[in-house]
Amino acid sequence: MLETPTARHPSTAYIERILSGKTLLPDTPENTLEVVGILKSYGVVIGAYSKNLLYIAEHQFLELFPFFKYFNGKTSLSALLRHWFHDRINYEYAEYCMKVMLWHGGGGLDSYLDSGEFKLLARKAIDAKIRNNPLIRSLNQVFPDFLPEQIRQFVYYSVLGQFWDVMSELFLTLADRYEQGKITSIPDVVAHIKAGLVAAAGNPITYSVDIGGQSYDLIPKSAGLIFISDAAVPYVEAIFFRGTPFPGTVSYNAQAQQISPDPGRFAYGALYADPLPVGGAGIPPTLLMQDMRHYLPESLHRLYQNTTRKEADLLIKICESFQKSMFCVTNAAILGLMPHDLETTDPKEQKVNQHYLEGWMDRLRTSQLETVQTNSLQ
């Protein structure tokens, strides 16, 4: 039987680059500055998102009208006015990501949420929560699937909150180490992220809520859900790769089958996004870019100032830098999940590694990977 020579794979250049210890994103000082700078502001923003997601999961559990869910428990007239004036973080973006994860599912979490164990735990929490609410109780009897589905959503609130809590810390320490001169290149960045992911890989994912002074487990430790396989990998799959088609300045015609009916073939995630539609009102990624612009480190902001349009297209520049940084995170995830050691000399292991990398590269073929190779700020 003839074997297809591996050299024929269209992304061989990238595969060889990874195998030789280089990175998907070209290693230049400007790229390093951009990636570290943008990850610093991203770290601040997802830190805030994470706090809010955890607050909603724990304190707004099954609230019928969670009017103050973005206030983290600190309600006042001035806070409300600031909120309406839009002087705030766009927590809606965090919920958008949460829903994308819920929708695409994946990992052990997805199957756990369909298990009898979870249904039992959810039922207990529901009964406790609506004990004194006859209206909801009767509704619950008519539509018994409604509240469990809500709880599945709260689970995702909590899981994404826990995931981002780790990532926020990871990105902020990256920025600190860059400022201390310990990180000087893109491979350093990738290594830092990989180390962080590996260190947190086995962290348990748990979730319990407090109702009437009693704690109700929804994901007990015994469910065996862990950081890397049940939060990080589904997150990368849902947010980096699949995403959701959103209406921007480029629109899709779903009726004309321009959207694949199979969500598994979606390619609307962060790695594929066209930075151009950013800036239109109401487009989710715009919310993230808007949030990050408030926390840009001075050095990166100065870099952006040297471009043709200066502040005018800041959101697009942030999006471009962000995309570069996400390729670094993907790179770290690829390395972290490698089936065998990079330097292995065993031909069998090498082959497995090769196939593993080809699988990633096949998916990245239509991504913005080509664009970030040469894209410098203009």
């Binding site: 300045t249 480029v250 151009l276 043709t308 349009r309 697009i316 203009q378």
Partner: protein
């Protein structure tokens, strides 16, 4: 008082040339802008003194000059010319302010712009046929140089073509004026309403024919229009603004003042043919515009079409239709000036006006979103969307011409529909979709738009909306003059009239 309007730009033009220390482009621009703004302010000041109820000309001034030739320095302003003077002085300010601050040979450039203003204002204010002709010719010289020196690649061709066409136009007009004075046996070239009353109809028709040829080139009417798209494409943005905004109006103004004003009898004989000619112009302009891929040429052909409405309303010659003529002149002046300004910005930023290349310019971050939005406003106004001055003027034109020339008016209405077609094509191609990508697949980064490029367009857009909502502010100036103008016995005998009350109602309603 009125002469101040004339002599500010003239003296300004001389000062810019002779005064030392104005080599610096920006300083020359500021001096020119200061003078033009002063002239504009003076026009507004005169507006406050303007008597709305007076039918004749106001602020008249008269000095004898070459009495043996019958040439006097004789100026005045009435409801017909005043709005056009305001428009001209406003657009001169816009053109000067909107000029590239690093213009080469700035002293000559700004001095020519002021000289152009001088020629046009002079022509509007003249109450002497020969004086009008002199100003009409004076205005050619600066415009020729403005196109020939600061124009695009084929500027020599375009400028020469413009010069030849407009010189022929001048000769035809001069011929008619001379014929009129000689045949009527008048002692001077002073403009008098009854100058042609003693002439036979044939004589009148021949003289009117000369004027139609002359002003028809200037307006321009198909098939005398071919100089215009070339001139527009080669001219720089400020010159295009003035050309479309004011200079074309010299043609329609002349036709109204001298054609209809002096030969009402012959006019009524020719009116059905003129209305048909208007249809040809409107439809030809619109259909040709659809076929264009150069944005500026599209706007230029749109100009040809829209000037046809003026001829239609002038041919109808009812009190309401003459109001429509003035309103359409102002409306077209504002709208086409806006469109040319915006096309100019697009050209400066992208380096092209090719509609097969341009795409997605409405992009909020990397494109020209404000310019694009103003363009949408401009094309909506041009297509006669209610709430903007284009609707008022076109509605007035159609409302007043329909009872007189129903078929021609209906055909012209198709032109309005076609305006929407080509301008939607323009907006759709250039402004919607994904932003232009370079050959290597990357998005172009357009230089940011600065306020000097935005503000004149914003000002014009505001005026377009304000006059669209409050057309009376535009119509009131002309009402008395028009009532008198169309009140001459010969005209009254010939035309199909709308009752006065109808006119008043139509104007108040719209």
């Amino acid at each position: 008082m009125l002469s101040v309007l004339l002599w500010i730009p003239f003296i300004g033009a001389v000062v810019l040339i002779v005064l030392p220390g104005l080599q610096d482009s920006r300083r020359a621009q500021w001096v020119a802008l200061l003078l033009a703004t002063f002239a504009f302010a003076w026009t507004i000041f005169l507006g406050f003194q303007f008597d709305f109820s007076a039918t004749g000309s106001q602020f008249q001034e008269r000095l004898s000059w070459l009495e043996t030739l019958g040439l006097q320095y004789q100026v005045g302003v009435d409801g017909l010319s005043y709005p056009l003077v305001v428009l001209n002085n406003l657009l001169t300010c816009v053109a000067i302010y909107g000029s590239d601050p690093d213009k080469e040979r700035p002293r000559f450039y700004y001095s020519l712009l002021l000289l152009l203003n001088f020629g046009v204002v002079g022509a509007f204010l003249s109450e002497n046929l020969l004086l009008f002709f002199l100003f009409y010719e004076i205005e050619l010289i600066p415009l020729y140089f403005l196109i020939a020196i600061w124009g695009g690649a084929r500027r020599g061709y375009a400028a020469t073509k413009f010069l030849i066409y407009t010189a022929v136009s001048g000769i035809a007009i001069l011929g008619s004026f001379l014929g009129l004075v000689w045949l009527s046996g008048a002692e001077s070239f002073a403009l008098q309403r009854d100058l042609a009353e003693t002439l036979t109809l044939t004589q009148q028709l021949i003289l009117l024919g000369g004027l139609l040829l002359g002003f028809g080139i200037k307006i321009p009417l198909v098939p005398l229009h071919t100089w215009l798209p070339d001139a527009h494409v080669e001219a720089s943005t400020p010159v295009s603004v003035l050309l479309a905004g004011v200079l074309l109006k010299l043609g329609t103004y002349g036709l109204l003042r001298f054609g209809l004003g002096l030969f009402p009898e012959a006019w009524s004989v020719l009116a059905p043919y003129l209305a048909t000619w208007a249809v040809v112009s409107v439809l030809y302009g619109a259909l040709t515009a659809i076929a264009q891929t150069d944005m500026k040429k599209m706007v230029a052909y749109s100009s040809v079409g829209h000037m046809g409405y003026i001829l239609l309303a002038a041919a109808a010659n009812t009190p309401l239709s003459l109001v429509a003529v003035i309103v359409q002149m102002i409306s077209h002046g504002l709208i086409s000036a806006l469109l040319f300004l915006l096309v100019g910005v697009v050209y400066t930023k992208t380096g092209t006006r090719d509609l097969t290349v341009l795409r997605g310019l409405l992009n909020p971050e990397r494109g020209l979103p404000l310019i694009g939005s103003l363009m949408v406003v401009g094309v909506m106004a041009s297509a006669g969307i209610p709430g903007m001055v284009g609707f008022i003027s076109e509605f007035l034109v159609f409302r007043s011409s329909l009872p007189v020339f129903p078929v021609q008016t209906l055909l012209c209405m198709i032109g309005t529909g076609l305006t929407a077609v080509y301008f939607l094509l323009l907006v759709n191609r250039a402004f919607f979709g994904r932003l232009i990508t370079r050959s290597d697949g990357k998005v172009v980064t357009l230089a940011p738009v600065i306020w000097r490029e935005r503000s004149p367009a914003i000002l014009l857009a505001i005026l377009i909306v304000v006059f669209g909502l409050q057309p009376n502010w535009l119509v009131d100036w002309t009402r008395a003059t028009i009532a008198d103008f169309s009140g001459s016995p010969a005209v009254l005998a010939q035309r199909t009239t709308l009752p006065e009350a109808d006119l008043a109602r139509a104007i108040t309603l719209h």
